[in-house]
Each structure stands twice: as C-alpha cells, then as structure tokens.
Symmetry: C2
Subunit: 416 residues, 2 copies
C-alpha cells in the first residue's frame, strides 16, 4: 500500500487504566517485535506522552515474550499512565518541538497511543504537527476506556470487563444484602462520565434475575423527592429491602451534580458529604425512611478487577493493539482502531477496523436515548442484546500461590 | 457407635453470610438425603433458628440435586440468615418450649446449625435443653465465619475465600493506584471483629510483592500521630504514593474504636464522620499532608465474592457439612465440626473432626501474638505459612450468559 517506513516504534498508555489496557500493550509489543525488518526498536513510554517529552522510555526488546504475554491478564497501565493534554500548537509549540526532537534522536517513525478521547486528541495533534514539519511518522490510536464513550467504535476495550465486574458483583451483593429478615436499603455507586454505560451494566444483573430494584443513569435528571418515593415503594412491597445502583455523576434537572448539590445543603440534611453520592443518598434514605442503609462504592475495583475480565474483552484489546501495528506498517496513519460489529451475522462477529482519529477525538458515544427507560427503571432489552456478547468468557492470570501471577517487566531504559 | 435414631433433620444458617456457607449447606443436604433409612425428611430452616420458632422451613427433598450442587458456588445464605440469640433457659424458657414443640411435631431428631460463636452457643443451649427434657436429638454445629475467630478449629470455612478476595484485590489495586506520576494515598478498609484475621490477609499480597505499605490490625493500639508519621515516611521515599490497609475495628491505646473516637472530634478535624474509619483516616492524611487520597471499603464484597472463592475453602466447607451429618448418624451430639490440620505432614493435610460445641461457643480464636509485628508493619512469615494453603485453587459457578449461574432453589414449604 505504501513504501516501507523503517524506524523505531513507541507506544504509550494514557488516562485511567483498565483491566485490559495491558492486553492492548501486549498486542502492540508482540506484533511490533515480529517486524524487526521495518520496526528497528520497540519502546514503551513511561507515563505516556510525558515519558516521551522527558525522554523516559523502556526498551521492550529486552523483555521476555512470556512476560509480555502475561500483560494480557495484568490490570492497570504497566508503563505508567498520565493525564496530560497537549496545548494547541497555535498557542504553544514547545511540547511539539520537543517531541520532534526526541522522535528525530531515536528515529521514531511509529507512534501508538492507547487511551480515550483525550488520547485520540493527542494522536491527532502529534500527527498533524509531524506532517506540518515534514517528519514522516505513522500515528495510530488504540482505543481504551471502561466508560465506553469513545465515538466510532461499536464498543471500547475495557468496557466489557468492567461491565462483567459490575453485573457479577451486583448479583453477588443482591444475594448477600437480602439475607436477613430485616430491612436494608443498599446503594451501589458506579463510576461514570457523561454517558452512563458503566451504570447500565447493572441491567445485565437484572436480566439474570438478580438485579437492583432501581437503576439511575446520568442521562436522566435525578430528583431526590422522586428517588425517596421510589425507594419507599420498593420497600413497601419487599419487606423494606431495596437495592439501588446509581452513577456517581447523576445530575438534577438544572444539570448540577447531585453529589455536589446535596453536599452544599449541609444544613438541610444536617451533615457534610464525605463519601460519594451513594453514601449521601443512603444517608438521606436513613433519615427520611428510617431504614437501615449501606452504601457500597465499586471505586477502583471496577476498573482493575482483572481476575474477572471478560475473555472477549481481553482478546479484542489484544487484537486492537496488534491491528494498530499491522495497519501502520501497511502505511496507515491518522487513524484509530475501532471495533466493527457485524449485526447481520449470526452470533457475535466483531473485527478491528480503522477510522479517522480526529473524529474519535472530539465526539462522545452516547447510549441511544430509546434504550433508556424512565428514571430508576434501567434500560430496554436492546442494551442487554448489545452488551451481553461483550462479557463472555473467563480469562485471567495463572495462579501462583493461589494468587494472580501478573507480568513482571524488567523495564530496561531504552533512552540514552 | 450408638443405636439408630430415626427422624427428620433440620439445618439452619446463622450470622453474616460468606462465599461458602452454602457449600456447607450442600454438604449437609446432599449427605442427609442419601441416608433416607434414618433421616426421614430434610428441612432447611428459613432464617435460621427464627424459621424453626416460626415453623417456616423448606422441604429439601423437593429440590433437584443439580441445584443443591450449585449451592457450592452460590454466595450468601440461601435459606436466609438471622441474628437471634437465645436467652438463657433460666431467664426465659419460652423459645425452648416452642422449639421442643416444633421438634416433636415434625419428629426432628437431627439439628445442624451453621455459623460462628453465637450459633455454637445456640447449638449448645438447644442440645442441653433437649437433654434436660429427655427429647432425643443430635445436635452438631457446622463452623462458618469469614472472621476466622472460631475457637478450636485450625481455621474456619469462609476465611480462605475472604482472604483470597482481600489479597487479590490489594494486588490489583496496588497496580492501579500507583499508575500516575503523581502522589496518592490509598486507604483500604477491611471488615473485622476483635481478631484481625481478615486484615492479616493483606500480608499475602505483601508476600507476592504487591502489598500495602502499611497494615493496621485491631490487635495493636492505633495512634493517629504515629500513623500520620508512618504515611509521611512512606510518601517521602515513594513519590508520595502509599497504600494503607486498616481494620474497621482498630482501637486506640484506651481501647476506644478509632472510627468513633475520631468522629467525635468533629471540631478538631472540621468534619463529621459518615464513611468508615478508612474514609476518616484518608481525610486526616489529606488535611495534614496535603496529598491526594482515596478510601476504598471492601464492604460486603469481601464476604460474597464467590467468583473468587478458594477451592480449598469451598471443598472444606462442603466436607464440614457432610461430616456433620455422618457424625450425627454415627451417634455424636453436642459437637462442632472443626478442621484439624496435620502440621507434621508434607504439604497441606487437613481433615474434619469433632470438638465440644460448648468450647467453641465461648472462646475466641486469636492471632498468635508472636506473629504480629509492630503497628503498621503487618505479620511474620508464620502467618503467610498458615494462610497460604487456605486460598489455593479456583472454584466458581459455571457461567451462563457470561455471568454466574447460581443455585435456584424451589423452596417448597416443608411445614404444615
């Protein structure tokens, strides 16, 4: 397709980690090391773009392939992550000049960056700059976010495993929290951004008959009085037992985050907010309905529970990394790997493909509005049909002493 | 050993559930159903002793054996649990008379009760009463507690799985929480009673090289100033990153619970305590050291995460239930099943045995003092050697739609 571009490759991880972000790293590294005729060196940037700016990166050629394979099952970002947004080149060219300097010094001709919207923005800006200064470099973004809000891909590596963790945990908690013959309102708080994909995973537990009674997505304005009434209704029918799943970023009708909104009302509710919105809502129920409550935050557990990863997710994350390398070698640049699902096929068929990275950088993937039921009521079967294939299969690190044997990288510095 | 005692058997579950309490139920039920020559009916009490008093129990003979087998991997108490302490018969005989009435009505001659110290106290009291009124009934306690504080048994079914969950989660969180090149103090709160066995499980993650920096057991008086200093020391050496594991029931030198003690100092620290002790300590670190913090409570997850159960634990829980039935049929009564480990054997060898139930009822199993290092420093290798065999192997429910297929009991009422 394009002429051979010979030089080094660098890969970085960015943004919040996931259970499978390292599986994409494994896909990139293992594939890149196979192409030593064109990819002369494989670097892993320490803490993403910051590692390139600081000239801190590892020589992946020094790693054992067996350890790179274990990255498939090792949660979090093995190279270290970063939250660093490049300024517009029009405002400040410093970072771009520095990147060019490093790329030239190490003859870096392939740049792979793994992350969400912001990371795709980084890919886009770096690629455009390198083009503007006539430095040939192929740039491919590898998608990652448990939030599933990356545009242009059917779903995003990281989401399936987080959804599987959330649904499984809700099923287990449902059995646990209803065990006594006394009342209890249990409020589970799920991470999220504007799109409520993670909270939506609660619907999968409902589908299996062990779900929450009420599910609150950030897409639907949250009204505290209606919430209290809804809990009261469930409790009345169900021996004062009620399980609620709530997104940490629910907003009220004015668009204010409920956590923040309620916390500011310390006088009205008589307490300051220390925990998250789940704890706050639990306190309100306790005060208003006098029922025993418990708030549970899935916190970081939902993004790092690699022991409960979805096999489909692990495999797709790996395939995305591998495909990024193959595509770059074939001459593609300015692209993000996306997952294309064939909805006309029988069963689940999904393949990596390419899309313009600029498009992914600036658009958010929302839950279709028609899948969302009224406040508290969760989602339609369309969501279940969409999400169920993404959580299939088990796939985790081998056990050593009964505990996971995660990858142990040597991390030999590749910079001078 | 003793003459054949023909009659019905009843089994109840009591106290906080665990990942494997239903595995003991499976052991009791499956074994009891095999002995229809002596055990004429097998009942499962709804909500423990309360279900017997209320004459609410299920006819287990109506259940499919395949579903009873799935109980091995189904968390929480399938029959419902209860926290109900029988009064001394000298103070109030009402409950005892009612139990006798129900036992007589259904010709119940075997009583199996699954729980911790309080449940063993119930076994002891019921058995002594039945003897005093010359009603022949064999009573065997089946041990259960994630807290591992039941006396007389090497360890307790439920502990291994909770310990495996805690150690695995700490390893995953360690990778996740150190991913950025900025500081973060992460405080993980573990459940507990007077004995810090659950918190001690953090030492297993340390043993695997992915442990917390500081571990605080309830056995060692907790000093807030020393704690702040210890965190500061770790942060100074470690780019402001520090992971702390803390028992929810740590006490200060005067024996007061730290959560309660700190919460009462709302003026000094400027806030009320809403979350647990982990959140409170995290807030203190934020205030005093100005480092970003995150508090994570394992909450109910640590006792119901059956997807991460230890195979050794699941098997021992089952074996304990089975052995209880075999022992009762053989003529034993007034006993609790305990686990006897052969420390002289090569490898891990452990078998169910019997001990006096009265002894288990009133004594607490503590962590040997010589295994406990000074505040924050965790435990010696002795603890690791003790606990590691208990978390071996994986064993979980089969997947259906990528999610656990837990037992679905018919729950046909067995009472009139």
């Amino acid at each position: 397709m394009s002429e051979k571009l010979i030089g080094a490759a660098i890969f970085g991880q960015s943004g919040g980690p996931s259970s499978v972000i390292n599986s994409s790293a494994a896909g990139v590294f293992i594939e890149a090391l196979k192409h030593s005729d064109v990819i002369t060196k494989v670097y892993g940037a320490a803490h993403g773009i910051k590692g390139i700016l600081d000239e801190h990166f590892y020589d992946i050629g020094e790693e054992d392939i067996a350890e790179l394979e274990l990255l498939r099952h090792t949660p979090s970002s093995a190279l270290g992550s970063v939250r660093y947004k490049l300024k517009s080149v029009l405002d400040d060219e410093t970072d771009y000049q520095r990147l060019l300097e490093v790329f030239r010094k190490y003859n870096i001709r392939y740049f792979f960056y793994n992350g969400g919207n912001d990371s795709m923005d980084t890919c886009n800006k770096v690629s455009k700059y390198m083009q503007s200064v006539d430095y040939e470099c192929r740039v491919i973004g590898v998608p990652k976010t448990i939030d599933n809000d990356l545009f242009g891909t059917d779903h995003c590596p990281g989401y399936g495993s987080a959804a599987k963790y959330i649904a499984t945990s809700i099923m287990e908690l449902k059995l646990d929290s209803t065990v006594y013959n006394t009342g209890m309102v249990c409020v589970l708080e799920v991470m999220g951004r504007n799109a409520g994909w993670l909270t939506a995973a609660a619907q999968l537990a409902t589908y299996k008959g062990l779900g929450a009674d009420l599910i609150y997505l950030p897409e639907t304005p949250f009204d505290i009085e209606e919430f209290v009434k809804a809990v009261q209704n469930v409790c009345a029918k169900n021996e004062n037992k009620c399980m609620v799943v709530v997104s940490e970023v629910i907003k009220n009708a004015e668009g204010r985050y409920v956590g923040e909104f309620v916390a500011s009302k310390t006088d009205l509710f008589g307490h300051a907010q220390l925990g998250g919105v789940g704890q706050t809502l639990a306190n309100i129920i306790k005060e208003r309905l006098g029922i025993k409550v418990r708030a549970i935050e899935f916190s970081l557990l939902q993004r790092c529970a690699a022991h409960l990863a979805s096999k489909v997710d692990v495999d797709e994350a790996f395939a995305s990394g591998k495909f990024a390398v193959q595509s770059a070698i074939a001459g593609h640049t300015d692209k993000m790997v996306c997952l294309e699902r064939d909805y006309s096929a029988e069963g689940y068929v999904c393949r990596p493909a390419l899309m313009d990275v600029a498009l992914a950088a600036n658009t958010e993937k929302k839950i279709p509005a028609e899948w969302i039921l009224p406040a508290g009521k969760g989602l339609t079967q369309d969501y279940v049909d969409y999400a169920l294939p993404l959580i299939q299969g088990d796939c985790k690190a081998p056990l050593e002493d009964g505990l996971p044997r995660f990858a142990r990288l040597k991390k030999v510095w590749g910079n001078d």
